[in-house]
Symmetry: C2
Subunit: 254 residues, 2 copies
DNA sequence: CGAGAGAGTTGATCCAGGTTAAGTACGTGG
DNA sequence: CCACGTACTTAACCTGGATCAACTCTCTCG
């Protein structure tokens, strides 16, 4: 991603990881990561279990479906997509993950069932499950923190099920743009102007559409003066109108 | 539901609930519920936090979207659907829940975001979150047990996202029938003959289809000799052919 | 036992969005 | 600075499944 604001974050991470010992207390994401409600004391204990990982290049995988699930990952910079693959090679993107978010909650019998691929040069903190489990038995708030994040994940996926089952293509794309805007905004980036880290193809796949449809819709939104899109740079011109496009009648009636 | 086998379970539950003090050790579902890996000692402690709830009639709600999330529920008999509702009254069924399964993992900031409705007269055990949290800080395996169930939930929803985004109507219905067969089978009921607890309308909603489409597909499957359906009673005649219908090319190409 | 209500089926028609097929713009390496 | 590959756009056409509209079957209730 190339947000002006985000470049700063990248800078900070590079410094943290390469020259200074990792510190949760000073991390720019600390408010977004797990140890939100921890005391200084508990935070120190939390820091002990956090490992740093070498940056993951664009296209590289954080983990693969089928691998044992051994850690959660906090995204410090960059972005990821989670991909579910069927036996016959079909792929479905089930989520995009932005800085400040946690990934690694998927899996059955401690085996991941999706592959998480970096969309950019990305950096993450690794939180080994074993340590996290042990620590959360000691630290009151931590366990609840983890549950909260997982519950939110479940709820988000349920919202996505509704989107895919009941909404028109137009509503899906509008929701997608609003969701991106919201997520980036709540992490301190601009709500109205941002870069898409993912290709049109990825967006289409995620939304259950054809890439051509996404392209057509973007054009239509531009013609209506709702957004301006230049390659991967998006500017939201009329938020209200964008929201209207979500609610639009369509999809299967109930 | 009216499986011959399930009637037994209902019997047992009625006895448990109405005449005998609830006992996890003797519960017919104990292998399916949370305390799978607990020692006798820990099981006793687990039993202490479990509450019983009065049976929930068909159409009644276990909990509503917007309510505070205070417990998990183990389904002892009957069945439920989880429904997400949008502001404009649109409804999407995001899951069906069978005996032996746990519900209550949805929610953001400890508020449920879906409503869980009984599809039959149903009985559940209530596991208050507060107690569960406290206990899982003491009992080694319990915390992992809860994580495991939540992770499976997330993975199942991801599979559902793939289904809705990429599969044809035929493939969706075939998957649905196979999944039901599998889930009931793994709980000791017949894999080849079972009752649908939910209406055609519910099935259609869940699969992102129109009820008419589900009806037509059932007819088509019957004509192909794959299943026999009589009102809500389903008999799978040719499992292999049913599986073929899942893999069938179709949906959006990747 | 007949009327009415839900639930399910079936058939006819239509359209959102997929598919196919050219394009165009960018960006990198030679 | 040109050539080639990749990402994206645009247009024409086609189809799976939604919608609309009867109709049937069961069950319930008076």
């Amino acid at each position: 991603m190339n947000f002006p604001a985000q470049e700063q974050v990248n800078e900070m991470n590079l410094i943290n990881i390469e020259s200074v010992k990792l510190s949760c207390k000073n991390c720019s994401l600390s408010e977004l990561c797990l140890p939100r409600s921890l005391s200084d004391d508990d935070l120190a204990r939390f820091e002990e279990i956090v490992d740093t990982r070498p940056p993951i290049p664009k296209g590289g995988a954080l983990y693969h479906a089928g691998e044992a699930s051994q850690a959660l990952y906090a995204i410090k910079s960059g972005a990821f997509k989670s991909v579910v693959t069927t036996e016959d090679g079909e792929e479905q993107i089930v989520g995009f993950h932005m800085p400040g978010e946690l990934v690694g909650f998927d899996g059955v019998e401690s085996v991941h069932n999706c592959t998480v691929v970096s969309l950019d040069r990305s950096t993450v903190c690794e939180l080994p499950l074993r340590d996290l489990e042990a620590l959360s038995r000691k630290v009151e708030g931590l366990q609840r923190e983890v549950y909260t994040v997982m519950r939110r994940e479940i709820s988000q996926e349920q919202a996505m099920l509704l989107l895919l089952a009941r909404r028109t293509a137009e509503s899906r794309l509008a929701s997608f743009l609003l969701s991106l805007s919201h997520r980036l905004g709540s992490r301190g980036f601009s709500r109205n102007e941002f870069n898409l880290v993912m290709s049109r193809h990825d967006i289409a796949n995620y939304l259950g559409l054809a890439a051509e449809t996404v392209s057509r819709l973007i054009t239509r939104f531009q013609e209506s003066g709702i957004v301006e899109v230049n390659r991967r740079r998006v500017t939201i011109l009329d938020l209200a109108m964008l929201k209207e496009r979500v609610g639009q009648p369509g999809g299967t009636k109930v």
